[in-house]
């Protein structure tokens, strides 16, 4: 078994502009996803909008600058994540396809296994 972080990206503005009906539907979709893949889920959360994000960058001289906003400005922003367990990428993709993503999609990233034994 391996772990994959599934990052959920979407158009924040489209989401903000949509009505309570869609919100309910989306909520229901995630509840259903959670039930369907209960065994594979190791964690997950929705994130507040990128308007609440703060980025900290390291400068060339080693100092750090704190700025308002997400690390990268993109139309489709990171909105949430799931941590899933799957035996391989095909299984991870099959699970990730069930995540409701009305305004975007997901990115599947294998979690690196760091061997601490030596």
């Amino acid at each position: 078994m391996a772990q994959y972080l599934v990052l959920i990206y979407g158009d924040e503005k489209a989401l903000a502009d949509s009505g309570p009906e869609l919100w309910q539907q989306l909520h229901k979709g995630h509840v259903e996803f959670g039930q369907a893949h209960e065994k594979a889920l190791a964690g997950g959360n929705a994130l507040e909008s990128t308007a609440t994000a703060t980025s900290i960058r390291r400068n060339d001289d080693g100092s750090q600058t704190v700025t308002d906003g997400p690390f990268a400005e993109t139309k489709e922003a990171l909105g949430g994540y799931y941590l899933i367990e799957a035996k391989d990428l095909d299984e991870a993709i099959a699970i990730a396809k069930d995540i409701p993503t009305p305004f975007g999609g997901v990115e599947v990233r294998p979690v690196q296994v760091i061997d601490m034994s030596n």
Partner: protein, 419 residues
């Protein structure tokens, strides 16, 4: 008693086995090694060992089985001694437990499972970029060296080596499984494999740049791959369609350029020199490919090629049938390039004025704006209509958009004829 066999004969037998059996040997070895690099090394060692062993003992009855047994034993040995060496990449994931040592030894005389489909599906996994899929297929399935793969795509060896290493790392780290996809997934996955093979063929058939029109090595590799897939999936109409398409297109190879390397258009090709063996094989496969309805993209393209291949001359070509097949093709594959080809066929079914109108109807297609063949098709219809000034302008435009030297020479010749 051992006979010493002529070294040239043995070298030829090893080269032949490399061409025919490489994919089989590597695919079976990957399942034991569960590591692409280790498996490649072991397979290469097996071919090297064949040179000396076969010289001493003769070429074995089943070279593929011999090579596979040697390669898999090496992989098992390497894994047994590996405990001290820290591996940099995780082992490949596969459905089944790796075969035990006894099993590998027992398989020496019996049936070694054919894992080539696993290998191909792994190389063409949708999580890999198309560039990586193509590079891995040539390297792992066809057994080309990195230098040869680099040459095929006109990039430096360092660039290609980096691309292959990155792709292998993704397979291991993201755990792309070494497995034949499930039945419901298989058609899409085979679709990706067929696109890779087709891309190899078209790249070879009309090299995008450079002095030669045809890259024979790539064409032959793609035909080999098509045949291999047809052996592995004998009931798949899309595979039949692709193999038919490459065979029928390739059947015209001897006549596509003249003695000095100039392009000869289909209309002016000497049909008696078309490869009748490839045509017969291709036409038979078209029958198998069209069995499923609706027919797939490659099946319809192959059917069009079959109409050309069987026509006694350009004039006696069944253009209405070709237009009808293009209509079907547009149905399953809405591509501006297909629409352009259909427009050209209309010109031969209903005359150059109809053809020009059909080409001009596509003028708004953004994808055709920078496409040399669109300008060349317009130029040809204008020429046939006697509108020579406009034809010259269109040929000039086509020349600006064409990079292949043989194709450029053809367009320049047409321009000279119009002066």
């Amino acid at each position: 008693m051992t006979t010493l066999h002529a070294s040239a004969e043995v070298a030829a037998a090893v080269a032949d086995a490399h061409r025919r059996e490489w994919a089989f040997v590597l695919a079976a070895t990957v399942r034991v090694a569960r590591d692409l690099d280790l498996a490649e090394e072991c397979a290469q060692d097996a071919f090297a060992q064949a040179l000396t062993s076969w010289a001493a003992d003769g070429v074995p009855h089943r070279p593929g089985a011999w090579l596979t047994t040697v390669a898999r034993r090496r992989a098992l040995d390497a894994l047994r001694h590996e405990t001290v060496v820290r591996r940099t990449l995780p082992l490949l994931v596969s459905d089944d437990v790796e075969p035990a040592v006894d099993e590998v030894v027992a398989e020496r005389d019996g049936a070694i499972p054919d894992d080539r489909l696993r290998l191909v599906c792994t190389c063409c996994h949708p999580a890999l970029s198309r560039e990586a899929q193509v590079a891995l297929t040539l390297r792992l399935v066809c057994g080309l060296t990195t230098a040869e793969v680099a040459r095929a795509f006109l990039v430096s060896e360092a660039t290609m080596a980096a691309r292959i290493t990155r792709a292998k790392k993704k397979i291991a780290s993201a755990r792309i499984p070494y497995r034949v996809p499930s039945a419901d997934e298989l058609p899409t996955r085979i679709g990706a494999v067929l696109e890779v093979v087709h891309l190899l063929f078209t790249t070879g058939h009309t090299a995008p740049a450079g002095e030669e029109l045809v890259r024979r090595d790539l064409v032959e590799r793609s035909i080999d791959l098509g045949r291999m897939l047809w052996v592995l999936l004998p009931n798949d109409p899309d595979v039949a369609g692709l193999l038919a398409l490459v065979l029928l297109t390739d059947s015209r190879r001897a006549t596509r350029v003249d003695a000095v390397g100039r392009l000869v258009v289909l209309e002016e090709q000497d049909r008696t020199r078309w490869d009748s063996g490839e045509i017969a094989e291709g036409v038979a496969l078209v029958g198998a490919a069209l069995r499923r309805r609706p027919a797939g993209r490659f099946a319809l393209q192959a059917a069009i090629a079959a109409v050309h291949a069987q026509a006694p001359s350009w004039r006696d070509t069944d253009w209405r049938e070709i237009v009808a097949l293009y209509d079907g093709l547009l149905h399953v594959w809405r591509s501006p390039v297909v629409a352009l080809n259909r427009a050209v066929a209309v010109g031969f079914a209903d005359g150059p004025a109809a053809g020009l109108a059909a080409v001009d109807a596509l003028a708004d297609e953004p994808q055709l704006a920078g496409y040399g063949y669109a300008a060349a098709a317009r130029a040809d219809f204008l020429r046939r209509l006697g509108r020579l000034d406009e034809a010259r302008v269109a040929y000039d435009e086509a020349l600006l958009l064409t990079e292949n030297a043989a194709e450029r020479a053809f367009l320049e010749q047409r321009l000279i004829e119009l002066r």
